[in-house]
Amino acid sequence: MDTVGGPLLPDQVSWSRAEQDLGYRKGDLINIGWHCSDRICRLGHAAKPALIWEDAQGDGRVYSFDDLRVLTNTFARHLQGLGLAPGDRICLFMDRVPELYIGFLGVLKMGGIVQPLFSAFGDESLLTRLENAGTAAIVTQRKHLHKVRKIRDRLPQLKLAVVVDADGLELRDGERAFALDREPRVEEFEVHPTTAESPSVLHYTSGTTGQPKGAQHVHYSLVSQYLTAKVVLDLRPDDVYWCNADPGWVTGTSYGIIGPWSNGTTQAVLDSGFNSERWYAFIAKHRITVWYSAPTAIRLLMRDGTGAAQKFDLASLRHLASVGEPLNPEAVLWSKEAFGRPFHDTFWQTETGCIVITNLPGMPIKPGSMGKPFPGITATVVDLKSYEPIPRPGSVGLIALRPGWPSMMREYWKNPGAYQSKFQNGWYLCGDRASIDEDGYYWFVGRDDDVINTGGHLVGPFEIESALLEHPAVAESAAVAKPDKVNMEVVKAFVVLKPGFAPSDDLDLEIMNFIRKRLSPLAMPQEIAFVESLPKTRSGKIVRRVLRAQEFGEPVGDLSTLMDD
């Protein structure tokens, strides 16, 4: 049955219908890599463009679904030839180059567990995540190789660093060159026999406590990602789709690779930093029809005004959606003015693997609301203490989902305690607070923990504080969210200096750059306050909520457990 692109009526939207569309029955083999390439070719779309790629200079390349099929085979065969095996964690640490997208499916085809990481991560962020995962190999570019080299001797399980643009580079032991374009093409490849519960993608995500955790997904997640991409993003056979997200983050894989390609949708990728005119030119050039963006980017576009948009022919845009943080009402209204249609807010997270609460195409939007649960998702808000559903509309509780949707993470990598803590009273807890109105629309209130949501990405305070303590001048530190007009929140660090060090602009800048290079630009404190002491409990634990409340102008709450000065 050729169901790629076939529209679904509302009562047809179900996981079982998605399984039917994908030709999957319980117990069958299922492989994301195969479904995103080979299957689309078998449905007669081999010549259809899969990837329209362009870099910052405007140079581009188009790959058909048959190119995707063959190049992912080639990538998979090459990894096998290097001695990599099913189950190995294989990190992809690249900018948004074609090898990243092709490699993602290639790793899955050979049965590896693909671990995409944001290429702006510094060496410490890379070390934390590779060490935790016991990563066997990392595929990267020459410009990022020095970060790998810096931490290599602390990663005994890392067998190989594979460099995709190594021409002229002197490689060291354990480093290999791999030029995909020059590799003999592999027409036929025996895809590893993965099943529904075979591990597929390992995405690291930050929490309040401890270092980032690896959310482990399985090949069956395809069912969720296929269906939600089709329905929420309204993907149709002739669409050209653009997802702004980097595949280092879950949006960039669930909806930047798996969702669109399992639907046989052509997608365009721009490997460039933000520039509103560049983005609009890209939309006009490739006649983008569906655009999945983020509130931070939308706010930057708003800052440049509707005038910037009007210089370009954006009439191709048919459906717009947004992800990462709550989409403020002003942004919804502005997009109607700028593009003739609103951005539809969607809510989900690394652990859920797919969109769970959303504004569906055609559904009346209440600006500021994340929408309603996707069909097949049972959601509610539960009491913060009892974890019982709160029946009264407008009451604030924790967003909770009934476990069991196809793309629910199966574990935090080797961290069963943290995984179990996400489930209470039969519900999966997202960690966000919200209320539900009388019409069933969900309204975000805030995080229930100390995680900072900056530009739609979660950053954990512990990782930042640990890195701050590595700076020679820092005795103690706390990292909290500070409100920001563009990014919703940014990191603010409170620092107690060691004796012999004094606050100064030079030190402020030095610490900012120190964190930016070790962790990432996202984790970089955008403001540093040098303080004499930090609020702590009597047991010495830093109470971040006091600092955060001060930043947000909120009540600081019960201070009775704090140490007296």
Binding site: L169, G273, N275, R516
Partner: protein, 85 residues
């Protein structure tokens, strides 16, 4: 102006071009769209400019467009140095 450009080029090379990255940084090299400086890292570059040039750049002026090249950065700095808006 040339002095500002030289200072910015030196700073960008030192802080944003990593070992093994053989990209050149010239006055018209796209820093933001070229992926050398991302929008989060802009804050530290802004802080550097404010400190070295003894100016205050309002947040609203610190846009990705204004920071995209050494040339545009130098123009921005000059505006706030001379008091022109």
């Amino acid at each position: 102006m040339d002095e500002i450009k030289r200072m910015v080029i030196e700073y960008v090379k030192r802080e944003y071009i990593e070992e093994g990255d053989d990209r050149e940084v010239k006055e018209d090299t796209p820093l933001i769209t070229g992926g050398i400086v991302d929008s989060f890292s802009m804050v530290s570059l802004k802080r550097f400019l404010e400190k070295k040039c003894a100016i205050q750049i309002p947040d609203a002026e610190a846009s990705p467009e204004a920071f995209n090249t050494v040339n545009s950065i130098a123009l921005l700095v000059e505006r706030f140095r001379t008091g022109a808006r």
